[in-house]
């Protein structure tokens, strides 16, 4: 049993190496084991590339016949238009793999247990549940997106102990220290798009870029219903300006819109709702069209408040610095909550120390985010579960 966990841990470590490059696919790692030794390993390196299982087979240093495959996700078994790779189950059967161990099933409606069933029908022994919790959390964005078609929405707040994100005059640099900001880089790596309100652009003029890795940059989306973004904003000026998208409303000045378009800046017009805020339902439709499977919302206060009010978020991460600011810009404004029993209670909450601050993270509703995988999160972490596919 201990050995099983070691091999699956290795598979998870491999999976993480794809962070930032696989979306909207999941991060997957695979390890092939024969007589207690790893003979092949691989991970899904980039969207469109080969799956982890195939990589492990191709990298194997010995014949893989009779080997056991450890993989954090159920192997795929489907062919649909647009899918870029043939089903992994075919290859595993063809290569005469003896046993397949996975952390969880793939809730993708085209798979969802059928992969394991196909393997079992071909006489391959199967087992599931090892590090199910870790594997589920690792691909949180994928699991939301594949089951609902909607992006995983992650709100990230950096605040003082008394819940302020800036002084009254807007001074917000820096509430958190460099170790927290390093962690924000990881969060951005997981995101297909980063979103802020125009207020944040006007006060902070942020870059919203990935600074730790070369390569992919997430979209940078600004909610700016009146097109107040100035020409000198970094988001319009730097080398990633083609990744900037301004979301505005029909009320915005047309000349300004054209001027921005003329400079090659993408401007999208969405409707506002009754409270003069870009309609979040329309925004979701736009993000889906854009292929965004995960969105990181970085502020400011009005944006956080609106996403929370409308229950349009999956995960909340709050960095809390041990400082007091007093009256200033509050992280979260009015949520129309009158009684304490109606307060929004986060689920699956974790507390961690990051540098000089604390990081509190929780989910709004794990059943809405993780769907059929939610139960992997509510079992105790040490539980051991053998998934038995029915061949019906």
């Amino acid at each position: 049993m201990v050995k099983d966990r070691d091999f699956m841990q290795r598979a998870l470590e491999l999976a993480i190496m794809g962070r930032g490059y696989t979306s909207p696919n999941p991060m997957v790692g695979a390890v092939l084991v024969k007589q207690g030794r790893i003979i092949g390993q691989g991970f899904h390196e980039r969207y469109g590339d080969k799956h982890a299982e195939i990589r492990a087979i191709e990298n194997a240093v010995e014949p893989v016949e009779g080997a056991t495959l450890y993989c954090n996700l159920e192997p795929c078994c489907h062919t649909i238009p647009g899918k870029k790779t043939p089903p992994c189950t075919h290859r595993l059967i063809q290569e005469r793999i003896r046993k397949v161990v996975v952390s969880t099933i793939d809730p993708n409606p085209h798979v969802s247990g059928s992969g394991l069933r196909a393997l079992k029908a071909a006489g391959i022994e199967i087992q599931s549940g090892i590090f199910a919790r870790e594997a589920t959390l690792l691909n949180e964005a994928y699991f939301k997106f594949i089951q609902t078609g909607e992006p995983f929405i992650h709100l990230k707040i950096a605040q003082s102990l008394d819940g302020r994100i800036a002084t009254r005059s807007g001074d917000a640099r820096w509430i958190t220290d460099v170790s927290a900001r390093q962690m924000v880089q990881e969060m951005r790596q997981n995101a297909d798009a980063i979103l802020v309100g125009i207020g944040t652009v006007l006060v902070d003029n942020p870059r919203l870029t990935l600074r730790t890795k070369n390569g992919r940059q997430p979209y940078r989306i600004v909610l700016d219903s009146r097109l107040r973004i100035p020409d000198h904003a970094t988001l319009l000026q730097d080398q990633f300006a083609d990744r900037t998208i301004i979301i505005t409303s029909p009320d915005a000045d047309k000349a300004r819109r054209e001027a921005l378009a003329h400079r090659g800046i993408r401007v999208e017009v969405l409707n506002k709702n009754s409270s003069e805020f870009i309609d979040l339902d329309e925004l979701m439709v736009f993000l889906q069209r854009l292929g965004v499977a995960s969105l990181l919302v970085e502020g400011g206060s009005a944006v956080f408040t609106r996403f929370i009010q409308k229950r349009r978020f999956d995960k909340l991460s709050v960095f809390i610095a041990p400082i007091l600011i007093g009256e200033g810009r509050e992280a979260i404004q009015d949520l129309h909550i009158k009684r304490l029993q109606d307060a929004l209670r986060l689920e699956l909450v974790t507390f961690r120390t990051i540098g000089h601050q604390m990081l509190v993270e929780g989910y709004r509703d794990i059943h809405r985010t993780f769907g059929k995988l939610a139960e992997e999160l509510t079992c105790s972490q040490d539980s051991w579960k053998k998934w038995e596919p029915s061949l019906s």
Copy 2:
């Protein structure tokens, strides 16, 4: 070395058994060891009773001559009017103790190293520094009080993740769960007095009592400059009404003042400052007169804000529940902080999980609170320091 730590840990465990009963004296435990075995132990059980060292000698099951004494605080060596016990150093010398090991010196100006010097002069081996940090934190209130004559002021806040202590309508029951409330009981045990503002009394009608132990009840102090406290308030009605003190201003209605006095309720008149709040300097003088060495401030928002604004606190404990309330009653209001660099940064911050919430604790200024013991807190926890008294 490991043995030394074991015996000192036992001394600290014994010390804690006096919690709530020793103020304004410190909590002290003592262990006598001979040939690696504990032969006697004791603790300071109650203010005015025998010191821990004497208890350990009296409880010893073997002759104590040649034994080593482990004690979290330097033995006393002084006789001053009002002191209730003879100097422990005399007794230790008389009993021919071989060695004395302490965690820290006693910064009491009447002791402050003289106890250890006296022992050394009598040929007793001495050592200090074991669990110095733990021993310093254990008696935080004593250390502040004995060095400054002012009470240790501890602010306790229970808030949501977004920094609110109640909804807009004042609903605050309960933001935290039973395990946090249990911890508040411990905080109250350490306090000679608990203080709240009249707003908290009007909205919550709290009891502010110690529910876990029989015996001592801290004073219950209400800041009520206009004497708005209603006759039916629990603080005026229950069996501890004689522990309730109402602090009011000269503006308060005289008839009401007399009516309360007539009912046996203690009312104190203190001046207000320019912003119509009871003057905190006057309050400190009053607390000193009352013999309060440690004050626990439990709210509400206006009271927290005033104590923080005036830098009139030593320690802040914030329970943070993983819930969002949105606009409501903020824990802390205006602190007149304009630039982030002027934000109040807590020192010696710790984060802990307590039940479903987190507890963040920190000190405003460890040098002001702990005086000459502050350095015990800034060394690394595993540091080992031998205190060498000079016999000058």
